[in-house]
Symmetry: C2
Subunit: 152 residues, 2 copies
């Protein structure tokens, strides 16, 4: 027996699924969303960094798998910074983001570009190229953090 | 001037990037990661649910964009449930998950399958088919939540 109405009622009640309307996003929801994005980025970026630093054995396939995930998540981050989400919950995002949105977007675009390049380079399995492109991608993270993130 | 060593040192220090080695994941990191995954799923699932329920105007392109994201995130969730991550931080995941991992994996596979189908169907722009497949996908969420999630 199909019970679509029940399923949707459960969804609406928030069974783990934030009911976010595109038009009216609560600041705290946007903050939680973007922090989730960075958590997922970090989860995948971390093991790659460990390999690049020689702390764990080099595993090209694992690296490529994680690079592809980073490339998928990176383009989803910008949506987590709507106007008005500079406050509303604990956030390390500096108010400067919303005063320099064009520059912030450009830095996000750079992350998207570099992480996509990383995923593409990773398909080759060429260790040196992968390590070099990893550093380019890490540089894109750093450039944005330095300017727009309150470092703890 | 390139400063790869500095960049890596910053990464290692945890500039928003959890240093997770694949081999030894802390339970609290896995819990944070999987919760991030569900937050991102919900962020994208919510607006689709709103459209399906007629609460916001139907927008096939927006629906398709979010469906693709859900299909990308769904396969990343299982990694957030390593052995031993039934405790270590606040979690709604029931201990039954780790006692029935094969069944849990099967339910995750079903979500991956249904959400991929949703993303594919969404490319067609066929509203009726998209709504129907959305309900199938929501059903995959529900089947797992009912058995393995402590509903608040």
């Amino acid at each position: 027996m199909r019970r679509p109405r029940l399923i949707l009622a459960i969804l609406a009640a928030g069974a783990g699924l934030a009911a976010v309307a595109t038009a009216a996003v609560k600041p705290e929801s946007a903050i939680a969303y973007r922090q989730a994005g960075y958590t997922m980025l970090g989860w995948n970026f971390g093991p790659m960094a460990q390999m690049v630093r020689g702390k764990t054995p080099w595993d090209a396939a694992e690296f490529a798998r994680r690079a592809e995930r980073v490339a998928q998540i990176a383009p989803q981050l910008l949506e987590g910074f709507p106007e008005g989400s500079d406050a509303g919950a604990k956030t390390d995002a500096k108010p400067e983001i919303w005063k320099n949105m064009d520059d912030f977007k450009a830095k996000m675009d750079e992350l998207v570009k570099q992480s996509r390049l990383l995923a593409e380079v990773a398909k080759s399995g060429d260790e040196a190229k992968m390590k070099d492109q990893f550093k380019q991608t890490a540089g894109a993270c750093k450039a944005c953090h330095e300017k727009y993130r309150n470092e703890e």
